[in-house]
């Protein structure tokens, strides 16, 4: 199973990005094979509207079934939920630490949006 982490970098040591739709990028981690794929989100990040929805579409396209991020706005939450993607929230500073917490089952799920659109 694949899990997407929002990040401002391209490796497991990179910082987490607390934004979902407007994260700089994503790390898609495959739990079965322990492989990492880095995805650039700059094009979506710079769109005027609909970043959360586009990001959700990308997450689904990459086959991730869970997202680990800081916060999630209403449109993104609606789109991810419709696609059956689980949303987890964390304040872990790096992707590696967030992954560790995810593996340990220590992350809280986000059952509704916790910020407004365009929150940061």
């Amino acid at each position: 199973m694949k899990v997407a982490f929002t990040t401002s970098g391209t490796t497991l040591d990179s910082p987490m990005d607390p934004r979902f739709g407007r994260a700089a990028g994503y790390i898609i981690y495959d739990m079965d094979t322990d492989t990492v794929e880095a995805v650039d989100n700059r094009q979506v990040l710079n769109s005027a509207h609909g970043a959360g929805i586009q990001a959700a579409e990308a997450i689904v396209r990459f086959g991730a079934k869970s997202v680990v991020t800081g916060h999630c706005g209403p449109n993104a939450h609606r789109a991810l939920s419709a696609a059956g993607v689980r949303i987890y929230t964390t304040q872990a500073p790096t992707v590696a630490e967030a992954l560790e917490a995810y593996r340990a089952g220590a992350l809280a799920t986000l059952n509704s949006a916790d910020v407004d659109g365009h929150w940061s």
């Binding site: 509207h49 609909g50 929805i53 586009q54 959700a56 579409e57 689904v60 449109n75 609606r78 789109a79 419709a82 696609a83 059956g84």
Partner: protein
């Protein structure tokens, strides 16, 4: 003739020029307040309301019993206002531009359009001047459909003045497109000059003849004038930096009513616009 009054920078005097030009032309002229996020021409041309219409944009409604989740609608929509993850699509009305494309491409006919209210168009009569203004509802982000609704009420047989929103983005383009002439109002300051440059780039792109009005002459420097000379842009009118103008404005009075010595200025502006057009911009 349709004359748009635009500017790059806000607060340069678009409404001042629009309402005074309308009063100078007099009864029979139409003034369209296309600054639908904050229409203010009615503060100067008071008159009485003669009509008000609700404006809607079409947004998709999906009949889930007909939808097979093919996702064609979502692939078409560049605004991501409708998305499908292999099941009935989600609609995000706030992102929808009302183009109707999703209903057209749906192979199952599962999408029909329903109206979503975005604002009103109000028509007022002020001593023979027809003021048509759009008023966007609070929380609505999309001005162009309402601006087009305002413009659809325009009678092409008569002269129309279109008071545009500031800036150079979609609402401004929705306003000035189709005009015969654009008046760009600026001020002789670095900010005025910078945004005038952006506005000129935009107007040249949509290929409408234009000229400049310099407001608050004497308040800044001569860089706007030098720029216009170098670019071959005509200066149609200069309005001095006169405290009495600001005082009249703050009372909601028209310059040409409160300060009759300025009536000639706006007659000259109209004359310059006609002259520029008749000469083919030479």
């Amino acid at each position: 003739m349709i004359i748009s009054v635009a500017s790059g920078k806000g607060g340069t005097g678009k409404t001042t020029v629009s309402v005074n030009l309308a009063r100078t032309i007099g009864a029979g002229v139409q003034l369209l307040d296309c600054d639908v996020e904050e229409p203010n021409a009615h503060l100067f041309l008071k008159g009485r309301e003669i009509g008000s219409d609700i404006v809607t944009i079409p947004i998709p409604t999906v009949d889930e019993s007909l939808c097979d989740g093919c996702g064609e609608c979502g692939r078409l929509c560049r605004y991501h206002a409708i998305v499908s993850f292999g099941s009935a699509p989600l609609v995000f009305p706030d992102l929808c531009h009302g183009c109707g494309g999703c209903a057209l491409v749906c192979p199952r006919g599962a999408i029909r359009e329903t109206g979503k209210r975005i604002g009103v168009v109000e028509t007022r009569d002020a001593d023979g001047i027809t003021l048509i203004q759009g008023r966007l509802d609070i929380g609505v982000a999309m001005a162009p459909p309402l601006i087009r609704a305002v413009k659809s009420r325009l009678n092409r047989e008569k002269t129309a003045i279109l008071d545009a929103p500031p800036g150079t983005s979609c609402p401004v383009i929705a306003t000035v497109r189709g005009s015969d002439f654009v008046v760009l109002v600026t001020e002789p300051t670095p900010f005025g000059l910078h945004d005038l440059g952006l506005a000129i780039e935009m107007i040249r792109e949509i290929a409408v003849p234009f000229g400049v009005v310099v407001n608050r002459m004497g308040a800044g420097d001569d860089r706007v004038h030098r720029f216009c000379r170098d670019e071959g842009v005509p200066i149609l009118l200069e309005i001095p930096d006169d405290r009495r103008i600001a005082e009249a404005y703050s009372r909601g009075e028209l310059m040409v009513d409160a300060l009759p010595d300025y009536t000639d200025h706006f007659a000259t502006l109209m004359w310059n616009i006609r002259d520029f057009r008749n000469s083919g911009g030479k």
